[in-house]
């Protein structure tokens, strides 16, 4: 292991993390709901949708954030290295995995750990481990 110092952004990452924490705080303190994105999305597929409103509003904000950034002259730069086949396979696995696992990085990793949930701690340790293993296999065993 070596630390990639050229891409290391502790200040910005901490700042962004605090913003995510405040966002989760707003949702739980005002709406009484957990900011878990896979759960918010998955809940829309469960009829009756009497509480669809806040879900749609939250998701609109999330999807609208880069649009707003772009309008303010700060378009987001990101690099999707994976090919189309990988992207589609990955999306499918993330979709089904987060529903069976009852959460993703936000619901378990941020909100769950914040409220001291053992389930979320185990879930987070599991998806981190399998994510690390997957990158190891694709980059170092089979990748070039």
């Amino acid at each position: 292991m070596s630390i990639d110092i050229s891409n290391f952004t502790p200040g910005l990452s901490l700042t962004g993390g605090v913003m995510i924490g405040i966002a989760a705080a707003v949702l739980v303190l005002f709406n009484g709901r957990v900011a878990g994105i896979s759960g918010i999305l998955g809940g829309l597929m469960n009829l009756p949708q009497k509480d669809a409103g806040w879900r749609v509003a939250f998701l609109a904000g999330l999807v609208g954030a880069p649009v707003l950034a772009s309008l303010l002259g700060n378009p987001i730069a990101l690099d999707i290295g994976a090919g189309w086949a990988e992207v589609v396979a990955a999306g499918f696995l993330v979709g089904i995995g987060t529903r069976y696992g009852s959460g993703c990085t936000s619901g378990h990793g941020v909100c769950g750990i914040s409220r001291g949930s053992m389930r979320s701690l185990v879930a987070t340790a599991t998806f981190m481990a399998s994510g690390i293993l997957t990158v190891f296999v694709t980059r170092h065993l089979f990748g070039g």
């Binding site: 990639d4 924490g21 954030a65 987001i76 993330v94 409220r115």
Partner: protein, 143 residues
């Protein structure tokens, strides 16, 4: 009012993902690649988010109703199940393949990246498959 606070929360969440670097798959993969050139930045995202989040959830747990008078719905499950672990493991494989988890994928979709649209489409497909399987199970149990 609830719609406004939810919209604001989503917006701030999205901005946080962008500022932190979490919305960038290359950065996420750099964090997961502990055997290569490791970029530990995303540990700082978690630290910042959890520091604020733990105070918020402490306050939320003490309240009967939210500030808008809604019921506070926090998951009550305590049992670590095989389903939780297997689901999370499958999620991790997808996360490690493309560098996207659900939130960042939605942000990248909003930014108009075609592959992010592909990812989100496939993710919704995976969620639909879950719904179909679970509803079929439910119907069989009821029959």
């Amino acid at each position: 009012m609830g719609l406004l606070t939810a919209l604001f929360s989503g917006l701030l969440f999205g901005v946080g993902l962008m500022v932190s670097g979490m919305a960038n798959p290359a950065k996420v993969l750099g964090f997961l690649d502990i055997a290569g050139q490791w970029d530990p930045s995303l540990a700082f995202v978690m630290a910042g988010a959890i520091a604020v989040g733990s105070v918020a959830f402490l306050l939320a747990k003490r309240r009967k109703k939210s500030l808008l008078g809604r019921s506070i719905q926090i998951p009550a499950g305590k049992q670590v199940t095989l389903r939780l672990v297997m689901g999370s493991a499958v999620f991790g494989v997808g996360w490690g393949l493309a560098g996207f988890c659900p939130g960042p994928a939605l942000v990248a979709m909003g930014a108009g990246f075609p592959k992010a649209w592909g990812f989100v489409g496939a993710m919704l497909g995976g969620m639909v498959v879950f719904e179909i399987i679970e509803r079929a199970k439910l119907t069989r149990q009821q029959a």
